[in-house]
Structures are given as C-alpha cells and as structure tokens.
C-alpha cells in the first residue's frame, strides 16, 4: 500500500517536472535568432532553463514548505526529533546533483561540439597570410567548416579583420581593402573574423548571434560564425575598456548577397577598373 503522502509527493514532483519543461519551452528570455550558432544555443538554454526551474521551484518549495509545516506552535517547548543523519538519504542527495551535473555537462559538450568549439582553431580557412605564422592564434569558437547547412558546406568563408581600439571597432576586408566602421556580411555565408586590439582588452559581442570573444592586445583571436537573418544587429563591447566603454558599439549589417555585392563594389578599391 502506498501512503497518501507518497502519492501526493509523487504527483507534485510530476507536476513540477512537467511545469519546468513547459516553462523551458515556452518562456522566451532570449533576443532574436540570427546565426547558425543561435538556435543551438537556444536549445541548450531551454534545457538548462527547464532543469533550473524544476530545481529552483522544487528546492525553494521544500524550504518554504518546511518552514510552514514545522513552525513552532504556540506553547510548544519541546525539541524536534534528534535525527543526526541518514546514510541512504545522504547518498541519494549526493547522487542527484552528480547525475544532473553529469547530464548537463555531457549535453553541453555536445552543444559545444555542434557549435564548432572542438574544431582546431586557426585552421587553413583562417587567412593567416598577414599574421605572423609564429604567433599563436587564440580561440574564439569554431571553424567555419562546421556550418551544418549543406548549402554552405563548400563555400569558403569571407575573411574580415577586426581591430578594436578605445572606443571603436574597425573592420578591414583584405579582399578589396575596405575599411569600415560597420560590419557588412552576406546572409548565410560563413564569416571568419580575426581580431586584435590596439590598446586595452575589448570584447566583440553580438547578442543575436549568441557569440562573444575578447579582443586582446598582442594576441590575435578568431571567431567564426554564419549569419542567418537579414537585418542590423548591435555589436557591443563587453569588456570594461575605459570611460566610454558603454558607448563602444557598432553594427553588423547582414544583407542579401546582391546587396552585399553592391556595398562591396561601392567601397572596394578596384584599382584595375580605373586603368
């Protein structure tokens, strides 16, 4: 025979789990999705949000429930029961966090791999022609090889150099020798950014891409991504870099291939045309 208490706590746990999963799937706390990285990130976020909700409501529920249930009744001067421990319970709640953490860890490893985090960095597709080969390139995320969409599997990434300084991002397109304060990129095309700072540490962050990488003086870092949505998204400096840090912003303009080509033609230094 199951006691009513067992049944009730079982039902409550089920409701909690279903509720948590519902919250994870239906409460959206994230900005627009605009890169191949973002939907993978959001998948991870949903899972973590669901687990987090279940744990938080469950655990704080336990605390509040105990406070109410076991509060001292007026006039009661007795002590509680003298229970000092319970080995099997303690093993149980060593196991619970261990299992949750193991699951979360493995799952996020998988996510990280799908984002391209495990690709070797600075591989052939990162143009290193003008970076001294001796210098180590430090990782951001992913090689642009890993883009999942078959459409782009073969296309070579567009390479752009970013140099950051107090308090601006400057983009340089080695092909065509364009210098620009806005990052123009064609949609669905892998982009390979090589970044270096001229003064202090900055960080390149595009919330809609779910990507961030510090821009470090004396040490190039790389970041690869594929934008998937046409539009203008903010590039935000995320590392304290001085008085105007809060104003250090730029824009990434994701455009259709034709629009991008037009922008490119207008700005590229096309020496041969002038001849």
């Amino acid at each position: 025979m199951l006691s009513p208490i067992t049944i009730i706590s079982f039902l409550v746990s089920i409701c909690l789990i279903i509720g948590g999963i519902w919250v994870g799937n239906n409460v959206n706390l994230l900005p627009a999705v605009a890169s191949t990285n973002a939907p993978i990130y959001d998948e991870l976020f949903k899972v973590l949000f669901a687990i987090g909700t279940i744990l938080f409501i469950g655990m704080s529920g336990l605390v509040i429930f105990s406070l109410i249930k076991f509060r001292r009744k007026p006039g009661d001067v007795d002590d509680g029961e003298s229970i000092e421990g319970n080995l099997s319970l303690e093993i149980l709640w060593t196991a619970i966090p261990a299992i949750v953490v193991l699951f979360v860890g493995l799952y996020s490893y998988d996510i990280y791999d799908r984002m391209g985090g495990m690709e070797s960095l600075g591989s052939h597709n990162n143009h290193s022609h003008h970076i001294n080969e001796e210098r180590r390139i430090w990782g951001g995320i992913g090689s642009s090889n890993s883009i999942e969409s078959p459409l782009n599997a073969s296309s070579t990434p567009l390479t752009v150099d970013l140099s950051a300084m107090q308090f601006a991002f400057i983009f340089h397109y080695p092909e065509g020798d364009i210098i620009s304060g806005e990052l123009h990129v064609p949609v669905d095309k892998p982009i390979a950014l090589t970044m270096e700072s001229k003064d202090v540490i900055h960080a390149f962050w595009v919330p809609e891409f779910r990507l961030k990488q510090d821009v470090i003086p004396g040490q190039p870092t790389i970041l690869n991504f594929t934008p998937t949505k046409v539009g203008r998204f903010p590039i935000i400096c995320a590392e304290l870099c001085g008085p105007y840090h809060g104003g250090m912003r730029a824009t990434v303009v994701v455009e259709k291939e034709e629009d991008y080509q037009q922008w490119y033609k207008q700005n590229a230094k096309q020496v041969d045309l002038e001849v």
Partner: protein, 554 residues
C-alpha cells in the same frame, strides 16, 4: 577527563585594554572585542559601499550617461566592488564572527596569536580610508575590482597604485587572520575535544583559512607585478613591452575564485550553527557536511579559468574548467539537502534569524543554478561580462553572504550585548530586504541575456524599464537598513535583557554569561562534545548543570 583549565593568573591584557566603549577603539587583544571591531568597521564600509551602489543605480535609471561623469562612474563601480568584497564581506564573515566564535568553539580563552589578531584588524581601517581618499586625491582606480591590464596600466596611475596598496594591506590582514584561525582550531582545542565534535563553523573556517593562506599570496604577488608595470614600466602584463595580459587573468582568478568561497564558506558555517538552534534539531549529516566543505576547498582551487572562457582560452582548458566547476555543485547540493533535512521535522521558531537564514538558502539555490549554467562554455560565451553574471554573483554574495550576516547578527546580538532585538522589526527588515533584493537582481538575468553588458553607464533604451525596476529594488534595499539600524540602537539603549542563553542553545559560546567575561569562562571551559544535541533531554540538563557549576566555582 578532568583536565583543569584555569584562567591565566596574570592578566597581560588589563593595561592595554580600556574599559567601556573606548576599548572598541583600542589595540585590544581580546578576541571578542576584535570580533566586534571587525563587525562594526565592516558595517560602516557596507554603508559606504551601499551609497556607491545607490549612485550606480541612479545613473542606470536612464539610458544616458547623465548622472556621473563617465570616469567617475568607473571609479564608483571599482570602489563599490572592492569595498563590498575586501572591506565588508570577507572581514565580517571571517574576521568578525570567526574571532568572536572560534575561541569559544574550541574551548580556548583567546585566539592563538592575540597580537597578530589585533594587527590584522588594525590594517583594515587605514587600508579602507586610503582606498576611499584616493578618490579625492587624483581620482580612484577605475579598472574594476578585477583591475585587468592593460586598462589598469593605462588609467591614471595614482588611483590604481593606491588601490593596489590597499588591497595588499587587506590581503595581508586576511592572511594573518587565516594563519591565526588554522592555529587556533588545530592547536588550541580544549583537551578532550575531538575535531569531529567541533561545531560546523570551525570546519568552515578551517577550510576557508586554508584557501586564504594558499591563494591570497598569489594575488599579492600578482598585484606587486602589476604595480611594477605601472610605476617602473616593466612589461609583465604590458603587451607593448612583450608582456601577456592573459597571464594576469590566470593569476588574478587563481585567488579570486577561491575568494568567492572565502566569502561564502564561512556563511555556510554560520547557517549550520543557526538552523539547529532555532529548529531544535541536530544538524543533519555532520560528517557529509565536513566532507563537502573540504571537497569545495579542493575543487575551489581548480576552477578559476571559468572566468576566462572568452579570453582566448584553448578548447581543452575550457572543457577542463567546465567539468571541474560543474562538480562543485555536488558538495554544494549535499549541504543544501542537509540544511533542509535539519529543518524537516523541527520545531522552527519563525524569528528574524531563521528567516534570513532560509532567505539565504533560497537565494543561494538560484545563484548556484545560474552558476552551473555559467560553467557551461557554450552558455557562458553569450552571457559572460553581462548583467546575467552581475545577477549571478549578487545572488551569491548578497543573497547568500549578506543575508547570513544579518541572520547572524540577529542570532548573536544577545551574546554580544546581553540585550534582545525586537523580533517584529527584524521580520519587517527581512521582508523588505528579501523583496528589494529580488526586485533588484532577478530582472538583471533578463538584461544580460538580451544584450546589456556589465560596467556600463549607458545602455540601449529598450532596457530602460527593467533597469528602473531594478533601481526601485535597490531603493528598497537601502531603506531596509533603516529598521535594522533603529532596532539595534533601540535595543542597545533600552532593549530588554536577554539572559545568558535566550535561545537555549547548546554550542559553547552560550554556556557562559552574555556578554561573556574577559577570557570567556570564569571557571573551566565546558567540554561540549555534542554541540547539536537537541532532542536529547539528558544532554541538555547536563550542559546546563555544568554551566551552573562554573558559576558556583568562582
């Protein structure tokens, strides 16, 4: 065991120690006076740090940088972080409660090195004053409490150097304290008292002090190198001179991640003392508690690079630090469940101390959950250095440590003063603090996820409303200190007498008069082998009898 433990014959302290309130301004060697010196001094800095937080929240009520000059804003946020960490939480959860309680808990008449103890305290006020006055000299440091180079090398040097000196003094104070705690806990235990019979706060302080002694010297060394870079133009961390800025981050976080445990492990210990008393139940799972503290100490030393996932950290390092960090959740989870099991089936008095302790548990659960999420590299890459992280660590350091400090003040105030605080006012204080705190910091998770970086004076106008919400929460938090201060003042002036042991607690500090005499016990120190023996009628009677005997022995 009938080892006697007489009070020392000659009282070397007498001449050095003025009577009355003046002794709190003296170079007293009494651990109880030093403990309260830490507490009061820390609280004054808390009010200053709080005022700075107020300035930050006022600036952030509008998306433009319109309240403070931009560089002043950065100075304010640097001072706020440094003061709250190094002058309020670390000195209070370690220095204040550690000094007051540890000698009682081990059955000693004072700390192992009373003079070192007094020196450790007296390093703090000048260091704090120096830090604050640097603002009026040439502008305070403005590179954040993390002082990452090259920013810290290129911002005005005077403020940064004073910041370094001040943190070095505070680190020194912390190391002196740590050595003293380790020596006291391991060497001054009353004969007959075994390690595994010590109250949990001793274990927390032992673990914390190990972290302090192992990691603070690394911070000191790092800051000294940084100061060379600033004044002598060496190139340790200066890329223009061939230095490496990332090395600084490794060294800094090698101290500063353990530092977060230096702020929170003692709080775990304090909660473990408070819950059993007001639930009238033994602390659940003493042995697993001890192991999880030690587990946290060991793991805490090998997770620092989770603060550097976007610093160009190679993939293998990212993975290693993800795994190590995530596993800290295991010992932490054990502690949580043990606390709940302590509540479970108790006879809980819903007083201010218990409310703040349970508020701590709830806030800490949320901070722990976001912590595990942040440990996942792919998750962290989006939210690192955003308001999400600000929310995470305030849930831990404010929702955790500061809540525990308040809980402890409500719990030990009768011990300190022999007076009772007003419980209704205390509950009111809790309510406002809890609401204000959550209103202030919960929305910041959303801000970070949606694109607001931290340490900015201006932001995208779409975040205005949520920032204003957060500022209202901050206002409530500021107001919530008023009923607390009023309560303390009222009680000091005309509060009801508490008697020696108002909570009928079994831990040793309560088995003497309140406030306790110099050297803690008039007779022999009681041998308390079951500090949590609630529910065992005979034991309580015994303990109280031994207290009576103590008094009769005089």
């Amino acid at each position: 065991m009938t080892l006697s433990f007489p009070p020392s014959e000659k009282k070397p302290l007498e001449g050095l120690q003025p009577k009355g309130w003046l002794r709190y301004l003296s170079f007293s060697l009494d651990h109880k006076v030093i403990g309260l010196q830490y507490l009061i001094c820390g609280f004054i800095f808390y009010l200053i740090g709080g005022a700075l937080a107020g300035a930050i929240r006022i600036e952030l009520t509008s998306p433009l940088s319109d309240f403070l000059e931009r560089d002043v804003y950065n100075q304010v946020l640097t001072l706020h972080g440094t003061i709250m960490i190094f002058l309020w939480i670390v000195p209070v959860v370690n220095g204040a409660f550690g000094n007051y309680l540890i000698p009682f808990y081990v059955g000693a008449r004072d700390m192992a090195f009373p003079r070192l103890n007094a020196v450790a305290f007296w390093l703090i006020p000048p260091a704090g004053l120096m830090l604050i006055t640097s603002y009026f000299i040439n502008g305070a440091a403005q590179s954040g409490w993390t002082a990452y180079p090259p920013l810290s090398i290129t911002t005005p040097a005077a403020g940064q150097i004073i910041w370094i000196l001040s943190v070095l003094l505070l680190g020194g104070s912390s190391i002196f304290g740590g050595i003293n705690f380790i020596a006291t806990i391991l060497k001054l235990r009353r004969p007959g008292l075994k390690l595994m019979q010590l109250p949990m706060y001793c274990w927390a302080m032992l673990g914390t002090s190990i972290l302090v002694v192992l990691s603070t010297p690394v911070l000191a060394g790092t800051l000294i190198l940084l100061s060379f870079d600033i004044v002598a133009h060496t190139g340790f961390f200066n890329p223009e001179l061939g230095g490496n800025v990332i090395v600084y981050q490794h060294l800094f976080w090698f101290y500063s991640h353990p530092a977060v445990y230096i702020m929170v492990l003692p709080a775990f210990g304090l909660v473990s003392e408070i819950l059993p008393v007001h639930c009238r139940k033994p602390l659940f799972g003493y042995i697993t508690m001890v192991y999880s503290i030690m587990g946290i100490v060991v793991l805490g030393l090998v997770v620092w690079a989770h603060h550097m996932f976007t610093s160009g950290t190679p993939p293998w390092m990212r993975l290693f630090f993800t795994i190590a960090t995530a596993f800290i959740a295991v010992p932490t989870g054990i502690k949580f469940f043990n606390w709940v099991a302590t509540l479970w089936g108790g006879k809980i008095s819903l007083n201010s101390a218990i409310l703040f302790s349970c508020g701590f548990i709830i806030n800490f659960v949320l901070g722990g959950i976001t912590g595990v999420a942040l440990a996942q590299v792919p998750f962290d890459i989006h939210v690192h250095d955003t308001y999400f992280v600000v929310a995470h660590f305030h849930y831990i350091v404010y929702g955790g440590s500061v809540f525990v400090i308040f809980s402890s003040i409500y719990h030990w105030f009768p011990k300190f003063t022999g007076k009772l605080l007003n419980e209704n006012l205390g509950r009111f204080h809790f309510l406002i603090t809890f609401i204000g705190f959550n209103l202030c910091f919960a929305p910041q998770h959303w801000l970070g996820l949606n694109g607001m970086p931290r340490r900015v004076a201006e932001y995208d106008p779409q975040f205005t409303f949520v920032n204003q919400l957060s500022s209202i929460g901050a206002l409530l938090m500021a107001l919530s200190t008023l009923p607390f201060l009023w309560n303390v003042l009222q009680s000091l002036l005309k509060g009801p007498k508490s008697g020696d042991n108002p909570w009928k607690a079994l831990t040793p500090e309560w088995l003497t008069s309140s406030p306790p005499p110099v050297e803690n016990w008039l007779g022999e120190a009681p041998l308390v082998t079951e500090p949590y023996g609630y529910g065992k009628k005979k034991k309580i009677v015994l303990a109280i009898k031994s207290e009576k005997e103590d008094k009769e022995n005089i």
